[in-house]
Amino acid sequence: MNKKDIDLSIDFCGVKFKNPFLLSSSPVSNSAEMVARSFEAGWAGVAFKTLNSDTTPIIHPSPRMNGIQYGNKKLVGLQNAEMISDRPLKENLADFLYLKKKYPDHVLISSIMGFSNDEWAYLAKVSEDNGADMLELNFSCPHMSVEGAGHHVGKAFDLIEKFTATVKRAVSIPVMAKMTPNITDMTEPALYAKRGGADAIAAINTVLGISQIDLNQFTPKPNVFGLGTISGTSGPAIKPIGLRFISEMAKCKELALPLSGMGGIETWVDALEYILLGASTLQVTTGIIHYGYDIVEDLIEGLTDFMVEKKITKIEDLVGRALTNLTTTDKFDLKRQGRAEYNLDKCVGCGQCYTVCKDAGGFALDWDGDKRQPVLDKDKCLSCMICSFVCPICDIISYKEMPDTWKRQDAVVMGKDLEDQLNFQPFKQPI
């Protein structure tokens, strides 16, 4: 199989995408000038920055974002307090016309947010009338301060159903509901959206959080002239949360809607993980904020090469492929046990494994100070594998399943001699 045999295109709610990669509705999709450049770079479509109908003045806070740094690594997460589009509706719609004229094969998704039933209908209609191929209903923007908008709606499930139904009545193009992760169970509001007629679900919007506090002013960042706020966190740090919600919705048989996944996607591996858990289109913002539109080249090339390697020609054949292996802990076969296996040929002698095993693991490692190497007491290894997470060399520590005759040594009881002083009765379930 060759690269030319791979078809990255996908049908999503009857709309054809030449590849599954879209800009999400955010600062990176703020204008046609920007979006056009992203299309040239290879993105298949855009969820345009959420429109407003000019009835509520939109002014973004300044500064509006804050990066989360881990050690020297920049932007492992981003906090963003930006509002929906601050551009006049006319200008955004003119940009729609421009994009559809210049890029007819690219998908234009209009993200909208109304402050009333009529406004939802109005914004849906003008979007359709000016070239939008799909709608994305923003039920989830966490920073909109107007009551009855953004994530306030996303948490009031009956409003989700009501507004979705309103929009569905107003237009004939497909409608996607974008959900907030700042709830415990996303399937429930997603089902409300479905009842309202939604054709697809997009998730996740940003996770409410506080990224950092200005230690001199005791003010959360972004520090907007002495004040901070709880606002949307995005980027690689929140990918696990996004994957979780996507997978839960994908597993929900009652829901059974196409999913547009997002949350921390930067590389083709991130994208593939979302696909394997049920997403069939993928949206990106923070990855672009960090690296620019060009990352789509790597998303496309990486995913294509993976598909060549796995001999899978169509994206559909990957969607949800990991779901059958996703279960709950009670389904695990706990009889099967193993331990870490060390191959020290490439060991550089840093001893981080020793430190973590001693202070966080099963104390299964001893330290040979002369050789500067760990010495594994195999029977004490808990198979937590923490050592492999800190080891700077990729293939020194692996997991090895042990035969069922193998028994792990119990942790040492330091108070063995004090057992006669124990004040203790075994728990008995009251009948």
């Binding site: 550089v348 002698g349 840093c350 020793y354 700077p392």
Partner: protein, 434 residues
């Protein structure tokens, strides 16, 4: 000189650190500056703690960060070398010390004074280190310095482009803030004067005078020939303008292959020399200078004339130098365990036109250096006999460390000697009281 680290660069480098158990880098530091600990502290955002670790262990942490041959000390032991390259510990250290000053962080609190007085002869690295350590223990320390300003080799032996005098001033301020008193332009030079200090209220003396006499190549020294000591100290002496005028636009030859020779060559270039030659009779690899110093000198367009033996100076009618007679050498076969010896190539003499020569073939003790401490045993090279374990000399109450004991050595070793001596002096004086 490679660029100094800023905060983000230092953090990026610290991020590469593997945070080794029983950190080998820390064992590689002669002065126990403990890089394993200060880098871990830096990574844990405990930045003041990192600076505290450096300065408490090594009062000249800033200077050592710049001047240490880290490639053969801490960085040589670095586990990350086995991945690709060692952590640049010296540069992180230099950054942290500098950063501490930028945020106005004072590492040391004012010590409680015991009232006991200790005299130190020489304000170089060993003297400073000993003085700071004793002051932190509450001793009243006076450092006697014959030159006009303190710092010893850091001021008079290291060119400013390597270690700036402003950095030195700040490093010295940490010492004076501890209550150490510098008495500059105050040479201890009379016969037996060191012993006399013991009867003038000082309860112990630490000799840290260093090596300030230069070895000569030939008996004659025509006009235009300098030794490394005079040459490198010239910016701080009356010879300053004289040497600068003589070097600018001229051809300079530096004779020698050690770190001091590299400094002399680099310094000649900063003075605007037209061409700087480095003449060394052995091979490139045999040059005792650090590998990175040699590479840097080459890259800075110093002309290396290796395998060349100076034979004689050529002078004009006025006795001023105009050239050097040289002979090509080749290395003889290696004899067991000995380094290969250069042997002159027959009929290979040639001469190099030169305006200025700097001899950098080694520092030594002044011939009469022992007269100020007649009770102290010396070796044949006039170095003080003292154990590096405790810096005790043959005479009670008198201690010694640094180059005057070790012979030519590193700043970081002198720092350690100062610390060792301070500990010995402290226990000596406590015992004596008891």
């Amino acid at each position: 000189m490679s660029k100094q680290y800023d905060f983000s660069r230092a953090l990026a480098e610290a991020d590469r650190c593997l945070l080794c158990h029983d950190a080998p880098c820390s064992k590689g530091c002669p002065a126990n500056t403990d890089p394993g600990k200060f880098i871990k502290k830096f990574k844990m955002q405990n930045i003041k703690g990192a600076i505290r670790t450096i300065k408490e262990n090594n009062i000249l942490g800033g200077a050592c960060g710049v001047l240490c041959p880290t490639a053969r000390l801490c960085e040589k032991e670095c586990s990350a070398s086995h991945l690709d390259r060692p952590i640049k510990i010296g540069k992180i250290q230099e950054f942290l010390v500098r950063h501490g000053r930028e945020i106005n962080f004072k590492v040391f609190e004012k010590p409680e004074v015991t009232g006991k007085k200790v005299a130190i002869i020489g304000s170089g690295p060993a003297g400073i280190s000993c003085g700071a350590a004793l002051a932190r223990k509450g001793y009243q320390v006076t450092i006697f310095e014959k030159m006009e300003e303190p710092g010893g080799v850091l001021r008079y032996g290291v060119p400013s482009y390597r270690f700036g005098k402003d950095s030195l001033k700040k490093e010295l301020k940490d010492v004076t803030d501890l209550g150490v008193e510098f008495k500059c332009s105050h040479p201890i030079q009379e016969k037996g004067e060191v012993q006399d200090l013991l009867s003038k209220g000082f309860q112990a003396v630490f000799i840290a005078t260093g090596l300030w006499d230069a070895a000569d190549l030939f008996d004659k020294k025509p006009a235009g020939v300098y030794n490394s000591v005079d040459f490198l100290s010239s910016p701080h002496t009356i010879q300053s303008d004289l040497i600068k005028d003589q070097v600018a636009g001229k051809k300079v030859a530096v004779i020698g292959g050690g770190s001091v020779a590299m400094d002399c060559a680099g310094f000649a270039q900063t003075l605007g020399a037209q061409d700087v030659y480095l003449i060394y009779r052995r091979s490139f690899n045999q040059m005792p200078a650090e590998p990175d110093e040699k590479i840097e000198s080459l890259e800075n367009n110093i002309h290396f004339l290796i395998l060349n033996q100076p034979k004689d100076y050529i002078t004009d009618d006025t006795g001023k130098i105009t050239g050097i007679k040289l002979a090509r050498t080749q290395l003889a076969k290696a004899k067991k365990d000995q380094r290969r010896v250069p042997v002159e190539v027959k009929d290979s003499q040639w001469s190099l036109d030169i305006d200025i020569v700097v001899e950098a073939i080694g520092n030594k003790a002044f011939e009469d250096s022992g007269k100020i401490y007649p009770g102290v045993d010396l070796d044949a090279k006039k170095l003080i006999k003292a154990s590096l374990e405790d810096c005790r000399t043959s005479q009670e109450g008198i201690f010694a460390g640094g180059d005057i004991v070790r012979g030519p050595s590193l700043v970081v070793n002198a720092v350690q000697d100062g610390k060792t001596a301070a500990n010995t002096i402290d226990s000596y004086l406590k015992q004596r009281k008891a």
